[in-house]
C-alpha cells in the first residue's frame, strides 16, 4: 500500500465517521463517558474499557472501536480533573499532574490548568497516533519474519519486562505474577493435543478460562473492594471560572511536548507498562532538564504539559505492539485486545493482511477521539467537575453490578462470574502485598501463544533448541531476556557497584 492509498484510507475513515450521526454520537458519548470515568476517583481507564466492551458486543467493529478508543482517550485525560480540582488523581496516570495542577487551582487558575491539560492531552494523543501509523506496519513487517521461537520468546520478554518495570517492590514479585498469569492461561484443553490441563475435573474449565472476565475481575473487583473498604472523604472541588485552551503556553513548551510525547510512546510500546509510568518518567525528566527545577511542585505549567502529553501519547504507543504483534502495551490496551477478539479481529502480524487498512482506521479513530476529547473538555469541563462531588459509595456498587453483567454477557456463562470473584479477591491481596497485576494480565493473554509456539517450534526442529541461538532475532530476544534476568540479580548489582566504584 503506497502513501497516497494510506492517506486515502485515513481520510475515508474520518469521513465515514463524521458523516454518520450515530458514529459521531458514539464518539462524543464514549469520550464524555471516558472523561467522567477518568475524573471520578476509583474508576480507571481499564475499567471503563472493560465495562464498555460489553455494550459494544452488538455493534459493528467500526462503531465498537470508536466507542472503545473514545472511552480510552477520554479516561486517560479525565484523570486530570480530580488531580487539579481535588488533589485526588482520578486515575494513577494523572498523579503527576496533581503536583502542579492543584497548586494552580489554589491560585485561582483551575480553568487555565484544565485548559492546558486538555490541549496537552489532545496533542499527546495525536503524536501517539502518528507513531501508530509509522511504526505499526514496520514492526508488523518485522514480526512477519518471526517463527514460533521468536513468538515464544516475545511472550516471555513481555512478562519479564512488564514484571521488571511495573513492580513496586522486588522484581521477582512482578515475574512470579507473570508466571501465575501463564499458569491461568494453561487451564483447559491444550491447543495441540487437546489434553485437559488443571481442569480439576470440571467441565466448565475444559474450554479454558476466558480472558475478559479475568481482566474485569483483576482490574474491577480490587478497585471496588479498595474504594468501599477505605472510608472516602468527598472534598469540595476548587473554584473554576473560564476554561482557557492555553495555546500560548503550548507554543512556549514545544520542546517539552516533543520529549514527553516520545517518552510516552516509548513507554507505551513496552508490554504491560501503562500511562502512569509514562507520566511519572516524563515529569521526572522534565524536572531534571528544566531551567527552573525549583518551580516544580508550585503549579508550574511545564510539569502539567510533561505528564499530560506523556500519558495520552502512551495510548498510541500501547497500540503499536498490540496491533503489530498482538501484545498489549498497557492494561487498557489488554482490555482492548479482549474486545477486538470478541469482534473477530485478531491483532498481530497478519492483521494488515487479513484486514487491510485496519491500523490506519484505528489511527483515524484516535485522531477523532482526541478532537472529541478537546471539544468535550473545553465545553463540558465545568459540568464534569460538578460530578466530582458525587461520593464513590453511590456509584461503586453500580460499577460492581456492571462488572458482573459485563462478565456474564460475554459468553452468557454464570461460571465466568464464579471465576471473576476469586480472581478479584486474589488480585486485591496481591496488589496489597506489592505484587503488580499488569504482568499477570500479560501472562493470561500471552500464555496460549507462548505454549503453542514453543511446542510448534520444537516440533519443527525435532526437539532441537539450536534455533534459539541460530536465528538472529531469537538470539537477540534471548540475550535481552537473559540480561533482564541477570541485571536484576544481587550478584550483578554488586558487581556493577564494584566496577562503578573502581571507575
Amino acid at each position: 500500500m503506497n502513501l497516497v492509498q494510506q492517506f486515502g484510507i485515513f481520510f475515508s475513515n474520518i469521513f465515514s465517521i463524521i458523516s454518520s450521526p450515530s458514529l459521531l454520537l458514539i464518539l462524543f458519548g464514549s469520550t464524555l463517558m471516558g472523561i467522567i470515568f477518568g475524573a471520578l476517583p476509583g474508576l480507571t481507564a481499564t475499567l471503563g474499557v472493560a465495562l464498555l466492551t460489553t455494550l459494544t458486543y452488538s455493534m459493528s467493529t467500526q462503531a465498537a472501536l470508536v466507542a472503545l478508543m473514545g472511552i480510552y482517550v477520554g479516561a486517560v485525560y479525565g484523570g486530570s480533573y480530580g488531580s487539579i480540582m481535588l488533589n485526588i488523581p482520578g486515575t494513577a496516570s494523572a498523579a503527576a499532574t496533581a503536583l502542579e495542577g492543584y497548586p494552580m487551582a489554589l491560585r485561582g487558575e483551575a480553568g487555565k490548568a484544565l485548559g492546558l491539560t486538555t490541549t496537552a492531552s489532545a496533542l499527546g494523543t495525536i503524536v501517539g497516533m502518528t507513531f501508530v501509523v509509522i511504526f505499526t506496519p514496520l514492526i508488523a513487517a518485522l514480526a512477519m519474519q518471526f517463527t514460533s521461537f521468536e513468538f515464544f520468546l516475545l511472550a516471555f520478554f513481555g512478562i519479564l519486562i512488564s514484571g521488571s518495570i511495573s513492580c513496586p517492590d522486588t522484581v521477582q514479585k512482578g515475574w512470579i505474577t507473570g508466571f501465575l498469569g501463564l499458569f491461568i492461561a494453561m487451564v483447559g484443553r491444550d491447543q495441540l493435543q487437546v489434553y485437559p490441563r488443571f481442569t480439576l475435573g470440571m467441565m466448565q474449565l475444559e474450554s479454558g478460562i476466558e480472558v475478559v472476565p479475568v481482566l474485569i475481575g483483576a482490574f474491577g473487583i480490587p478497585q471496588i473492594i479498595q474504594v468501599l473498604k477505605d472510608r472516602q472523604v468527598t472534598a469540595e472541588p476548587a473554584k473554576i471560572e473560564k476554561i482557557i485552551p492555553s495555546f500560548g503556553t503550548i507554543g512556549r513548551n514545544v520542546k517539552h511536548i516533543v520529549r514527553s510525547a516520545l517518552i510516552g510512546v516509548g513507554i507505551g510500546a513496552v508490554p504491560g507498562i501503562g500511562e502512569d509510568i509514562a507520566a511519572w518518567v516524563s515529569y521526572g525528566t522534565a524536572k531534571k532538564s528544566s531551567k527552573f527545577p525549583e518551580k516544580y511542585g508550585t503549579g508550574f505549567e511545564e510539569g502539567i504539559v510533561a505528564s499530560e502529553v506523556a500519558n495520552n501519547s502512551c495510548i498510541g504507543g500501547a497500540m503499536i505492539p498490540l496491533l503489530s504483534m498482538g501484545i498489549p502495551g498497557s492494561p487498557p490496551a489488554a482490555m482492548l485486545l479482549g474486545a477486538l477478539m470478541l469482534h473477530g479481529v485478531a491483532p498481530g502480524p497478519m492483521l494488515e493482511i487479513e484486514q487491510p487498512g485496519f491500523t490506519i482506521g484505528i489511527s483515524a479513530i484516535l485522531l477523532l477521539a482526541s478532537m472529541a476529547m478537546w471539544i468535550v473538555g473545553m465545553l463540558l469541563a465545568k459540568q464534569v467537575v460538578k460530578l466530582l462531588k458525587v461520593p464513590p459509595a453511590l456509584f461503586m456498587p453500580v460499577v460492581a453490578v456492571l462488572c458482573l453483567i459485563g462478565s456474564y454477557a460475554l459468553g452468557l456463562k454464570v461460571f465466568n462470574l464464579y471465576l471473576m470473584i476469586p480472581m478479584g479477591i486474589l488480585t486485591y491481596y496481591l496488589t496489597n502485598m506489592g505484587y503488580p497485576i499488569p504482568p499477570l494480565v500479560i501472562g493470561v493473554i500471552l500464555g496460549s501463544m507462548a505454549d503453542a509456539n514453543l511446542r510448534r517450534g520444537l516440533m519443527v526442529s525435532q526437539g532441537s533448541l539450536a534455533p534459539f541461538f541460530t536465528r538472529p532475532v531469537a538470539l537477540i530476544l534471548l540475550l535481552i531476556i537473559v540480561f533482564t534476568f541477570v541485571s536484576n540479580t544481587g550478584i550483578y548489582k554488586r558487581l556493577l557497584a564494584k566496577i562503578l566504584r573502581k571507575a
Partner: protein
C-alpha cells in the same frame, strides 16, 4: 500497598503459598503424557502438554524461593511477628472486619447464590439496597446492625438453596422465591429506616433517600438495556423481568 514493617512478613506467607502452587503444578504436569501416546498420538517431550506447565511450575518455585530468601534477609521473621501481633489482638467482628465483610458478603451472595435463584432485577436491588445504603450513610453502628440483618436474610436464602426448597417453591408457585426476595428487600428497607433514627446528623434521611433512588434507578436502566437493547438473556428471568418483558412486548 502494605507498610514495610509487615510487608516482608507477608512475603514469607505469599512465597510459601506460591511455592506450594509451583509444587502442585509440577505434580499435575507429571501426570500429563510426556513421552507415551495420548489419544492415538505418539507424544515426544517437546510436544507434550506438560512442557509449558513444567517450565511455569519450576519458575514459580524458584521465584518463590528467591522472594522467601529476600524476605528472610530483610527482617521477614520480625515482620511476620508484627503481622501476627496486629491480627491476634483484633476481634473477629471488629469494625474494620465488618466493613470488609460488608463489601464482600453481598458480592459473594449475589454471584454464588442469588444470581441463579432469584429474579435478576430483585438480585440487583437486594445487593444495591444494602451496599449503597451502608457505605453512603457510612455510620459504624448502622453498618453493623444492617450487616447482621442482611446476613440473616442471606442465611435464609442459603438454607433454601441447600435443602432445595427453591424447587419445592417453584412447584407451588413459579414466583414464590421472588416474592420471598421481595419481602426481604422490604424488610431490609424498613430495618434500615428504623436504624437511621439512631444515626446522628441531619442529612442521613436525605442520604438514605438518595441511596434508595440509586438502588432502583440503576437496575431500572440496566436490566432493559441488557435484556431488550443488547438482547442478552438474563440468568434468572423471574417475576419482575417477566413483567418488564410483558410491558415491553405489549408496547412494541
Amino acid at each position: 500497598m502494605m507498610d514495610n514493617s509487615k510487608l516482608r512478613g507477608a512475603d514469607l506467607i505469599t512465597s510459601f503459598l506460591f511455592f506450594l502452587l509451583g509444587v502442585w503444578i509440577l505434580f499435575e504436569s507429571f501426570k500429563m503424557p510426556l513421552r507415551d501416546s495420548y489419544a492415538g498420538v505418539n507424544s515426544a517431550w517437546y510436544v507434550s502438554p506438560a512442557l509449558m506447565p513444567l517450565i511455569i511450575g519450576t519458575a514459580i518455585i524458584l521465584l518463590a524461593l528467591t522472594i522467601f530468601v529476600h524476605a528472610m534477609k530483610h527482617g521477614g521473621k520480625e515482620a511476620l511477628k508484627v503481622l501476627w501481633a496486629s491480627r491476634i489482638g483484633k476481634k473477629l467482628l471488629s469494625d474494620g472486619n465488618i466493613r470488609y465483610a460488608s463489601v464482600l458478603l453481598p458480592l459473594i451472595a449475589m454471584v454464588y447464590m442469588n444470581l441463579t435463584m432469584v429474579d435478576f432485577f430483585l438480585t440487583l436491588v437486594l445487593y444495591l439496597s444494602f451496599t449503597i445504603s451502608v457505605f453512603y450513610i457510612d455510620d459504624t453502628k448502622f453498618m453493623r446492625s444492617t450487616f447482621y440483618f442482611y446476613t440473616v436474610e442471606m442465611a435464609i436464602l442459603l438454607v433454601i438453596s441447600i435443602v432445595k426448597l427453591d424447587v419445592v417453591f417453584a412447584s407451588i408457585f413459579t414466583y414464590l422465591l421472588d416474592i420471598i426476595a421481595l419481602l426481604m428487600i422490604v424488610a431490609l428497607t424498613i430495618w434500615m429506616k428504623l436504624q437511621l433514627r439512631k444515626v446522628p446528623g441531619e442529612k442521613v434521611n436525605r442520604k438514605f433517600r438518595h441511596a434508595m433512588l440509586m438502588t432502583y434507578i440503576a437496575p431500572l436502566f440496566l436490566v432493559p438495556i441488557f435484556r431488550y437493547a443488547l438482547r442478552i438473556p438474563l440468568p434468572v428471568e423471574g417475576g419482575i423481568v417477566n413483567l418488564m418483558s410483558l410491558v415491553y412486548y405489549t408496547l412494541r
